[in-house]
Amino acid sequence: MQATVLQRMDNTARRLVPFGVTLVLMLFAMTPTYIPGLSHITPMYALMAVYFWSIYRPDLLGYGSTFAIGVLEDLLSGTPLGSGALILLLCQRVVFHQQKFFNNKPFGIIWLAFALVAFGAGLLRWICVGLVAPSGFTPIGQMGTSYLMSVALYPLVGWFLAKAHMKLLSQN
């Protein structure tokens, strides 16, 4: 009886891994890195994680969790409320919709697709924030830099996420 309770707890904990990892990555994006020149540009870490889990574990990261992470990010980073959640949800929707396309694709293709999805997400967020924020549109160059950083960092973050995913599978 004890084993089953433990097993159940273990299972629940496992199911929470994608949400937890995405949350941690989102918070990580905000912690000061003290790397010269980098504090002005934050890559879209949360988007990378949502994209990754939507491809590989659509069963474990639903729209609700994604929404919660997006809203939390907006609240913490001082960006217009709802704008971050919107693009995360749309990114997830696109990936879910193209599930067949993403099936068993080599990493290069996944990376390229991320570059496309992130481009759309970045542009849409820039428009949303520009329309909603009292200060109006921000210089688009900074959004561009953040986008390029995100694409460049995706292999590294993806590798880390894949490790987490392997760990999750191996003990299933």
Partner: protein
């Protein structure tokens, strides 16, 4: 527990429908949130305060490894340059001692003049030191989260500094954490004086590394190397706080390099210059 195949497929369709419904309603909610954020800022501000108060301990924990690494790297760098620095410090010390005697002389002179004119002294500034736990710099907002809030006496609108110069202003004060709007944020507008001539201008952020000077009388009024300090107009900042120096003067744009190096801010001082008066402190924050 096992359901027949027909039931499974029906369950599957139901699940897809539910998912689609969830997606559409959540998208609806995000638009509603954007509208609420535009209309009712107080409600959203309270939510932001509550969330940052709750998450600050986690962020503090997460930021500590980076702080340790940064300290270590700094130590190494300092060790390498210790000899040169020592020589520089010796020289600086000599110069400062001279200045000290000048300052002492001026202080006594000042005091005697004050006595002579029976001047009412300005209220002295009090400050709180806080750690920076999150740097939410991005393309859309430039702010930092610090570990001091209303419980430590931090109020909206107070000035945030480091030893080098001005960092920004408190934009939201939660109970245990506060958000500081940096001088580089696109919403930041600070009345300043430029150069020795003290030409008036407005320092405006654009989310980039260097804020710009707006409304400077004429472009020749600023030259690279000119110091930029707060002017004290509009009473948001006391006069004379160091901000930075003019980095480049190009057609239509005068850029200012802040004295505060953004990547190195580990802790800041929230200074209360009593600009809102003593009574206003007990009243709820304005706006």
């Amino acid at each position: 527990m096992r359901a027949p195949t027909g039931q499974i497929s029906r369950l599957g369709t139901l699940k897809t429908l539910l998912q689609r419904f969830a997606f559409l309603s959540l998208i609806g909610i995000t638009f509603a949130l954007m509208l609420i954020g535009k209309a009712d800022t107080i409600l959203v501000e309270r939510a932001r305060d509550a969330v940052s108060d709750a998450v600050t301990p986690v962020l503090r924990l997460m930021s500590s490894p980076a702080t340790v690494v940064a300290d270590f790297v700094n130590n190494l760098r300092e060790l390498a340059a210790i000899r040169e620095e020592n020589a520089e410090l010796r020289e600086a010390n000599g110069r400062l001692l001279q200045w000290q005697s000048v300052a002492q002389r001026l202080e006594s002179e000042n005091k005697s003049l004050r006595d002579l004119t029976a001047l009412v002294p300005e209220p002295s500034a009090t400050f709180v030191t806080a750690r920076v736990v999150a740097d939410t710099g991005g393309a859309f907002a430039q702010s930092i989260l610090i570990t001091a809030g209303q419980s430590a006496g931090v109020r909206k609108g107070q000035v945030v500094m480091t030893g080098e110069g001005l960092v920004g202003r408190v934009m939201q004060a939660g109970l245990y954490s506060s958000r500081v709007l940096l001088i580089t944020d696109i919403n930041s507008r600070i009345p300043v004086l430029v150069g020795e001539a003290g030409n008036r201008a407005i320092l405006a952020g654009d989310n980039g590394m260097r804020p710009r000077l707006l409304f400077l009388g004429n472009k020749t009024a600023a030259a690279p190397g000119d110091k930029v300090v707060t002017s004290g107009d509009a009473e948001a900042f006391p006069p004379g706080l160091p901000i930075g120096q003019v980095a480049s003067v190009e057609e239509g744009a005068v850029e200012v390099e802040p004295f505060v190096v953004r990547d190195k801010i580990q802790s800041v001082r929230v200074v209360d210059y009593g600009l809102t008066g003593i009574l206003a402190q007990q009243a709820p924050p304005a706006k």
